[in-house]
């Protein structure tokens, strides 16, 4: 079973993915609305897994919903909350229900979320989860037992091209490639000249690379990310640009900047596509795509 997302990656086209977040609770209206808006515009939709360690409706449920609505889901799976039995079980379930893309993440610490006293698991790490998927695809579970009925996934992972220090991050990145990742979504990039340097290195590997684009919503938000989000560096120029936007028009400026970046990435063929994140403002993704002349 080859997923349509995998086909898109292999077709050589400029791939566009985005993401939606499940709700805290059972009111799925907003998520459904976002899926509705995105499903025919992007090649696949990521569904986040208790993002920032905040307890929410499960990513598996969201992925199923995307599938049922005719979209192409990328199931995000972190290693924070499930041991190897639970992770494998969820992969079996996902595959059986037609979810064939998965993004493997280590997961944030529970200390960053809203259940700070929870026990964290990390039985596997992201590279071991990738290896587990490849093993399950060969018909064996992590204990070496045979599976009755197999799975198939287009499996991906993430990298932070501006991590500091960078070398340990790249060693991990190469382990993910070795473990069989087919695509990589990057942490948000803003300095495209630096991103090009990363791509000069990353291009030697077989995985497809999607550049992470996070919509800037205001100058303070950009400064906040610089200060608080590991591996995100928004240069002064876009911050000034955001600050110069007339009152109430910062979002439009952010959309313009994101659109411009995507256009440049595509024109210069820097990488294989983009992963657009508009955290909390997913309804703006079509506008970003329009600004990038992708639709």
């Amino acid at each position: 079973m080859v997923s349509s997302f995998k086909k898109a990656l292999e077709s050589g086209k400029f791939v566009v993915t985005s993401e939606v977040a499940p709700p805290k609770g059972t009111n799925l209206e907003k998520m459904v609305h976002h899926i509705e808006l995105l499903k025919d515009k992007v090649d696949a939709i990521n569904i986040t897994d208790h993002q920032s360690s905040v307890m929410r409706f499960p990513s598996l449920g969201g992925a199923l919903l995307i599938k049922e609505m005719g979209g192409e889901p990328i199931l995000q799976m972190t290693c924070r909350d499930r041991n190897r039995l639970a992770l494998q079980a969820d992969l079996l379930f996902a595959s059986s229900r037609g979810i064939h893309n998965v993004l493997c993440l280590t997961g944030d610490s529970v200390l960053l979320g809203d259940h700070k006293e929870a026990k964290s698991v990390f039985d596997l790490d992201s590279s071991q989860l990738l290896a587990a998927i490849r093993r399950l695809e060969r018909g064996k579970d992590l204990a070496g037992n045979d599976l009755d009925g197999g799975i198939s996934f287009c499996a991906g992972a993430i990298v932070t091209p501006e991590a500091n220090p960078l070398e340990p991050q790249l060693i991990k990145f190469e382990k993910k490639i070795e473990a069989g990742t087919e695509f990589i979504q990057t942490q948000a990039v803003y300095d495209l000249d630096r991103f090009k340097q990363f791509m000069d290195y990353a291009r030697q590997f077989p995985a497809k690379i999607l550049a992470g684009i996070i919509l800037l919503t205001s100058a303070p938000m950009a400064r906040f990310m610089n200060k608080n989000v590991a591996g995100v560096n928004v240069p002064q120029e876009p911050i000034d640009e955001m600050a110069s936007a007339p009152k109430g028009r910062a979002i439009e400026k952010g959309i313009e900047i994101a659109g411009r970046m995507i256009m440049r990435i595509q024109e210069e063929r820097m990488c294989d596509g983009v992963h657009i994140m508009a955290i909390g403002r997913e309804e703006l993704v079509p506008d970003i795509m329009a600004a990038a002349r992708l639709v």
């Binding site: 924070r80 190897r84 993440l105 280590t106 997961g107 944030d108 610490s109 200390l111 960053l112 964290s120 990390f122 039985d123 596997l124 790490d125 992201s126 590279s127 071991q128 290896a131 587990a132 992590l142 993430i158 932070t160 991590a163 500091n164 220090p165 070398e167 340990p168 991050q169 060693i171 991990k172 190469e174 382990k175 070795e178 473990a179 942490q187 590991a230 591996g231």
Partner: protein, 217 residues
């Protein structure tokens, strides 16, 4: 030297644990908790005063040389009467000391401290956790720095995405273990050890509770 690192419980919790227990005998220890100023001579004296102020009757108190020692029961026998008069033994030692007393005396025990970790004094007044006694030691592949313990997530294949300027995503006062390991392996010219893929770990190296019996053969 291995040290048991402790921290005093909040006053609120202490009073809750001692509710209804009017007569209190206090036990401190001359070893780890003296070093961390959580259960040495001065802290035991201060606790006597604090509890008296809260209306408790202090039947007595002692700072044992090594509370986790098997001879603790004997050492306490000198205080037999004061202990007999008490409703509770309020113990300002690490949990090893608390459990040692509980095993040797038929008496209600209440800990005054939380035992945080088994660690080492790495600089004056600074204590670090460096080993979780996991039963499957990988120090030989990580330059002698333990990622199971020193990495907040216990990752064995390299850093997570939260590593930030060499610090951990949970606390900028804590080093990212993987920056330390990388630097160390690089210095030693053995970075290949970090490139080697580590299989999922055996988390049952010694299933809890650990137990070892050495046969006398």
């Amino acid at each position: 030297m291995i040290r048991s690192i402790t921290q005093q419980k909040s006053e609120e919790e202490i009073l809750r644990l001692l509710e209804g227990l009017g007569r209190v005998f206090i036990i401190g220890c001359g070893t780890c908790v003296t070093l961390t100023h959580t259960g040495g001579e001065p802290e035991v004296e201060a606790m006597k005063e604090r509890l008296s102020d809260k209306g408790k009757l202090i039947t007595g108190g002692v700072v044992l040389p090594v509370a986790c020692d098997n001879l603790t029961g004997d050492a306490l026998s000198k205080y037999g009467q004061q202990i007999a008069q008490a409703d509770v033994l309020f113990i300002m030692t690490c949990a090893f000391g608390v459990q040692t007393v509980a095993r040797q005396l038929k008496k209600l025990v209440v800990p005054a401290l939380d035992t945080l970790f088994i660690g080492k004094e790495t600089a004056l007044g600074q204590f670090d956790e460096i080993c979780l006694q996991c039963g499957a030691c990988i120090l030989g592949e990580t330059g002698g720095i333990c990622p199971v313990t020193s990495c907040h997530k216990g990752l064995v294949n390299g850093p997570c995405g939260g590593t930030n300027n060499g610090k951990c995503e949970i606390d900028s006062a804590k080093d990212c273990a993987w920056t330390l390991i990388y630097n160390r392996l690089k210095d030693l010219g053995t970075l290949d050890a970090m490139r080697r893929f580590q299989q999922p770990r055996n988390h049952q190296g010694e299933p809890k509770p650990g137990k070892l019996v050495i046969s006398a053969s």
